[in-house]
């Protein structure tokens, strides 16, 4: 599964694109949460940046699947396919 990272998240992780194996990605049973766990395992430096002390995703962190905010879908329970593009970023700051 491929993650795209932006702004300081890419700097913390050391890459803009990170490909991680996710359990169940080929069987159609993987969720966005599974993919996030796999990402944080692969890039442990990101963990404190995106999760709070209780291990919950910080409120200002955005997670997109195929361009759509997953919190407009089923949150971290949203199903992902192997070919889906996932993105993780801080608050937007254009303009």
């Amino acid at each position: 599964m491929e993650w795209k990272l932006f702004a300081d998240l890419a700097e913390v992780a050391g890459d803009r694109h990170v490909v991680v194996p996710v359990d169940g990605e080929d069987e159609g049973t993987a969720t966005v949460g599974d993919a996030l766990d796999a990402l944080l395992e692969d890039r442990p430096a990101l963990r404190d940046r995106v999760l709070d002390d209780d291990g919950e995703l910080r409120e200002h962190i955005n997670v997109l699947r195929e361009g759509t905010n997953v919190f407009n879908e089923d949150g971290l329970e949203t199903a992902v396919d192997a070919g889906d593009e996932l993105a993780l970023f801080p608050p937007v700051s254009g303009g």
Partner: protein, 276 residues
Amino acid sequence: MQTLGLVGPDAAALAERLVPRLDGRVATVEPLPDRGEDASRPAAPGLAPGSAAAGAFGVGPDGSWVGAGEDRSLADTLDTLAPEYDYALLVGFPEADVPAVVVGGDEGDDSPTGEVLGRVPDAGGADLGDLTERLDATEPHVTLESLVRRVKASPRAERAGAIATFTGRVRAKDDDGDPRTTALAFETYEGVADDRMETIRTELTDRAGVEEVLLHHRTGVVPDGEDIVFVVVLAGHRGEAFRAVEDGINRLKDEVPIFKKETTVEDEFWVHDRDG
């Protein structure tokens, strides 16, 4: 307007081959010789010696024209050309920060400042189709005036009595004690950012009385004082125009995945980190 620098001994010959292949109005720009400090010189080639005028133009009945003048940089020139031309070819300006192609031999000291789209041994050996494709994929040179010109050309313009615009620019200081901001660097989630801007554009255009909406945001490094973002609205009346401009820039700042890193004389930081 797409801008291409052509650099190297065979640059002019490649420009000549390329112009008819480009789809749209093309302007070419060439460097004038440095005129030094000769006091007897006219203010610019084409101006009469001793003339106090800063510019001189000739206009023919068929629309032909010539112009000459002083006090215009290459950057000023590109801004002036952007509303009127689809392409600008800069022949022999290696220092210009624009996408460039190197034509002929070793460029030596003429290595271009901007992104190099290609290097070809001579003008005849260039793959013009490929070069055109690369040029069309580069970020266009967009000015407020070029967007205003575009909405005025809309088939819906005859129903519109108002154009309202917003320009966001790099602010050097928030107050007197601030370390000066020298540049902002913008990172864009390509594809998704365009989709979100298109959604905003479509939803604003669907409003009653709003005829056209254009949004443009630059990417890459934008130095202090330069423009970053434009919203242009063509509408029946000023009320709809003002509201759509304000909602357009507010939604762009809230919804479009673009990220800003600020460089000041003291520091460098992601703007969302400071706001949070």
